[in-house]
Symmetry: C5
Subunit: 100 residues, 5 copies
């Protein structure tokens, strides 16, 4: 999985019928130092991720292992909202610190 930050939303009315009701988030990837990269992904969200939160995104057929997504033409899903990322002894990210 890749680490990404929720940056925005994508809305569409004319789409594959199976995508009705799916919330689509615009995610921007984060490097191992916590900085935003140019790379982004539009992913389905079913864990309730909020703006600016760090999340884990699964791509490829993994995106359809989320309940309800099995038959949807999705190649990316948010599968977790991140609490903490530790690199060596260092706390790279903590959701608690971010939002207090």
């Amino acid at each position: 999985m890749q680490i990404a930050r929720v940056r925005g939303t994508v809305v569409s009315t004319q789409k594959d019928p199976s995508l009705r009701g799916v919330k689509l988030l615009l995610l921007q990837f984060v490097n191992e130092e916590g900085q935003l990269l140019e790379k982004y992904e539009v992913a389905a969200d079913s864990v309730g991720a909020g703006f600016d939160e760090w999340v884990l995104v699964s791509r490829g057929s993994a995106a359809r292992q989320v309940q309800g997504n099995e038959q949807r033409p999705l190649d990316a899903s948010v599968v977790a909202i991140i609490d903490t990322v530790h690199v060596e002894d260092r706390l790279l990210y903590s959701k608690k610190d971010q939002y207090r």
Copy 2:
């Protein structure tokens, strides 16, 4: 999914028999600022995307989750025509503004 703009069409008569009747669009990817990237994809379209519209493209096995594509050798499909893209508080793209 990635955000792309419809840039053209690809036509082929000598092809895998299962691809007969499939409309193939030439898509060019768009970065998080809305600028065209060099990266492109030829994708099957079943949502009726028109020239210059912004769309979502699903790649890999997701492309075959679109009804009718299940048995086709497709690795990319247009799955949605985008109405709006919001990044933070900013409206990055609106189909309405684009075409008024």
Copy 3:
């Protein structure tokens, strides 16, 4: 799918038994201006693509949706010989012009 030009062939006798009789083409990818890129792919061909022709190549599990390839360890197949590529109003490639 990606647009590629047929550049050569790869021959192998010692291989996975399921690959016997499969024609393997060396394809070089083409950018949105029609120029050859460094990126290449060795792909199975079942549509009869000839040297220098422009083709569509499907990668990943899509390569095994071609009849006869279902059980073969292939991750790339030529699925179409391109007649024309249009970008906006411009004819980027025409097989007819290429070979007249």
Copy 4:
């Protein structure tokens, strides 16, 4: 598979229910000279990899071939802890030397 070093951990409480109890490691890829690359992956671990160890990571649907992961939305799993990597006659990495 790619060679990566275990660099840290990712913790999440709000996530896809199927991911409960899955240990998520932050891996950083290694080039053919043994140097850390910028590229990373967050992968499920079921082989008990420890901090700084070199591991093999499988991505895509392969990540779900690990027992217990079949239905989880995972696109990367640690599948082996590396003992040795030999390039030509040279020992590039040995777990034994690393930890004595």
Copy 5:
């Protein structure tokens, strides 16, 4: 598929049980001029590829279409030992010339 040269081996004892007995080769990719690239892959070998030979490597779910690999968490397999690579009229590589 990609063209790669066999550069070394990877050995592991602590691994997913299904990987017991699988020979893992370190492959380095080759560009269209025959030069080694930085990109590498660790792949399962069942065709008996030897050191320095040129091989075809299949990635993704294709790697599990090799007999015996169906249930293994592999995302790359050597599927063929290359005899010759022709680009246009030119012989880019011949196994015979390499080893005489």
